[in-house]
């Protein structure tokens, strides 16, 4: 790949390395971004993207390497130093102050003050409201973050990063919890920023977005710099090959398999955020659930497995009505769910991978009082291996894994349970393409074994690629169903499905 010529480089990283204990997260990487450029940074999970960005923003210290910014040698002591120097960042993991208001969050550390110390709340609120209104976000600046949805939190994070008037904004997976409309709004913001000469580092695992918004792309693999080029010069296949070091033919591989009897049937489920939901899913079937973020898909499934309260409705498993009052009951009946929020509902970050993986199945696997540790190690290691979790040892804390590898650990823990019904809520959120297709393959394998699978996803190509049937949610209710035949025959497209979600 050749370097594009004559770019006005604003930030340049040379030979940056960083190791965490035994893991070499970054190994002699280069990274250049020009003024007014939207620069995609791609790489598999654990490639070191977030790590480099955290070095730039001053959260980590590089072991070696040099960074220049605006022509001058650059080093950030901490994020506030970076912000002063003109770099801000939207973090991959959500990070709001739940008990502060939107205005207070956006202007944290940049409050309007009178006399140097006294807060000018009115001015801050007014300024925040102006920004919200200007960006067409329909929220009151005085609302507590606590009361917002995940997507709204993410939007506030984005607004916050943008409002620093930075010369360079780093966006680490900004759209992972946004729907397509919100994503489009973000892209509009990005275009506006770009027109003002602001540079943007854009990290995402969603290929479409890269081609839609980015000008330039750099790829990392296993902590190393692989290459960089103008977006015009690359295509999807080429980028994927660079990321994974091999060719991936079909990104959404679908294993065709025989569809059997109905396993799970629900009738008229209602609860907070959804009502009157009925559907069934058969053995060997993958049921996709599509909808906008906030349309109540997760809420339905959370209530179904006993994590939230179900207000009314009936659940039938293998034709028999069952009652589910807690997750434990659901698991013991063979209904398991991979939660979308892995940090809060998926993992004990400070416990080992082994313990995390075996947790839901401990009671069933070790019927006696005591845990059979040998069996536990064997089973969990196998489960982790089958999902190619990248870790030095099963005894490492889940904390030390990259986002995508953490997601694989969560998957591993539920696959161990060999459920009858497996509900996957955004199973590939933040997972790289390679692992994504591995996960899709696995879903196929499990379906072939007779498991019934329900998958919620906000990524339409994914949903359309691997579902046998697709349910469409709209504002907490079902609004249509699409079969694989319709999709294959081209009777349904992304556009027609989206149309039913709004």
């Amino acid at each position: 790949m050749e370097q594009a010529q004559n770019r006005d480089i604003i930030l340049s990283c040379r030979n940056v390395s960083k190791a965490f204990g035994g893991t070499q997260a970054l190994d002699d990487v280069q990274f250049d971004i020009a003024r007014g450029e939207v620069h995609a940074l791609l790489g598999e999970n654990g490639a070191g993207k977030s790590t480099l960005m955290k070095i730039i923003i001053g959260l980590f210290k590089a072991d070696k390497g040099a960074i220049t910014f605006d022509g001058k040698p650059y080093h950030a002591k901490d994020p506030s130093d970076a912000i002063r120097k003109g770099i801000s960042m939207i973090h991959q993991e959500l990070n709001p102050e739940y008990y502060l208001t939107i205005a207070e969050n956006i202007f944290l550390k940049r409050e309007d003050v009178r006399g140097g110390v006294f807060l000018n709340k009115k001015a801050t609120n007014r300024k925040a409201q102006e920004i919200l209104d200007h960006l067409n976000v329909k929220l009151n600046a005085k609302t507590l973050i606590e009361e917002l949805t995940l997507a709204q939190c993410q939007i506030i994070e984005i607004i916050k990063a943008i409002s620093f008037d930075a010369k360079l904004i780093i966006m680490d997976e900004p759209t992972s919890s946004l729907d397509s409309e919100e994503t489009e709004a973000l892209f509009n913001m990005i275009r506006h920023l770009k027109s003002q000469g602001v540079s943007i580092v854009y990290i995402s695992h969603r290929m479409d977005e890269i081609f839609q918004i980015c000008d330039h792309v750099s790829v990392f693999r296993d902590g190393r710099f692989v290459g960089s080029d103008l977006i015009e010069n690359v295509d999807r296949e080429k980028l994927i090959a660079m990321m994974v070091g091999r060719k991936v033919k079909n990104i959404f591989p679908k294993t065709e398999c025989a569809i059997g009897e109905t396993v799970l049937r629900v009738e008229n489920l209602s609860g907070k955020g959804f009502s009157d939901i009925s559907f069934e899913v058969r053995a060997g079937e993958i049921l996709g659930i599509s909808g906008l973020v906030g349309s109540g898909r997760s809420e339905t499934m959370r209530a179904l497995i006993g994590l939230d309260r179900l207000e009314s409705g009936k659940i039938y498993l293998d034709g028999q009505e069952i009652k589910i009052r807690s997750v434990r009951q659901a698991v013991s009946q063979g209904i398991c769910m991979v939660n979308e929020d892995r940090k809060n509902y998926g993992l004990c970050l400070h416990r080992s991978i082994r313990e995390n993986v075996s947790l839901p199945t401990l009671r069933v696997m070790h019927r006696k009082l005591l845990i059979n540790k040998r069996k536990e190690i064997k089973d969990t290691t196998e489960a982790a291996q089958s999902l190619t979790v990248k870790a030095g040892s099963m005894e490492l804390d889940a904390y030390s894994l990259s986002g995508g590898n953490q997601q694989k650990v969560v998957l591993a823990k539920w696959l161990m349970a060999h459920p009858k019904v497996l509900i996957l809520d955004e199973p590939t959120r933040g997972v790289d393409v390679g692992a994504k297709s591995e996960i899709h393959n696995l879903m196929g394998t499990f379906a072939a074994e007779g498991m019934a699978i329900v998958m919620i996803s906000s990524e339409l190509p994914e949903i359309m690629g691997i579902s046998d049937r697709i349910l469409i949610y709209r504002e907490g209710r079902l609004n249509g169903e699409v079969s694989r035949q319709d999709v294959l025959a081209g009777r349904e497209t992304q556009e027609t499905i989206l149309a039913r979600e709004f």
């Binding site: 008990y99 969050n105 550390k109 409201q129």
Partner: protein, 327 residues
Amino acid sequence: MRKVERSPRSILRMDQTELSIFMRRYGIGLVMLGMIVLLAVISPTFRKPSNVISILLQISINGILALGMVFVITAGGIDLSIGSMLALTSVIVGAVLNSTGSIALACILAVSATTFFGLINGLLVAKFKMFPFVVTLATQLVIRGVAYIISGGYSASLANADFKNIGNGKVFGTIPIPVIILFAVAILAFIIMHWTVFGRYIYAVGGNINSAVASGVNVFWTRTFSFVIMGFCAGVAGVIMTSRISAAQPNIGVGYETDAIAACVIGGTSFSGGIATIPGTMFGIVIIGLIYNGMNLVGINSYWQTITKGLLIIGAVMLDMFMNKRK
């Protein structure tokens, strides 16, 4: 979008969310009012102005401690060393006053000493990321030891009449000076907590430390300073306490952290940090004072007093929880 008003008059005109936020912040005030009404009905003594004054006097020391504690807890910490700090203040005041006779010098040195230990607590917590509970459990011992060494284990009477005045004097012949000091500290705390940038940082650090770091808040100094404020408040409370008993004693102050923490908690301060209000804390302080005073007025046997106090703490927290439906 409407402006959210907070003046009492507007309570009736609040909409659902505003009302719930208001209730969540100040609902415990209703509990306090309820207790006051109840006591006023059942005890004639309670209604006497002199009793009101003496309740205020009684809560002044604990109140100042609680006002310091609320900063620490809101920033995500806890300080168990304040009892020892009271003792340290007491012996330093005693030593300086008896040797130099200068009240100002005695008070300044004593408050400086506790503020210094507050700084030490803060540095250990903020710099080394040690748990506040553990740090202050340990420094508590160190500070108490220092107090014993300074005093040699003896208590000393303080005859200085002007000094006695700090704890026992009255302004306009009615309002005790400690009450004036309490209100001054409360106003100061209110301004710092609710009106300044530093207060905002306290909330931010306690609410979500990672977010605060990512926003560029100086988490280190914010946490440290919360302990410094606590140290300062403990020093002020210690001076009042020393003056009230007119004695320098190295063994006083044991268990005072309990009531200070209880006041904060009753006042709606969240133990996980990031949630607190100064008015709420003041309500908590008054409630604790009412518990003690009320039980003595009603003549509850002291064993039952202990039990009642425990039950009331649980009850107040639960009531607050149900009222706010807070998780």
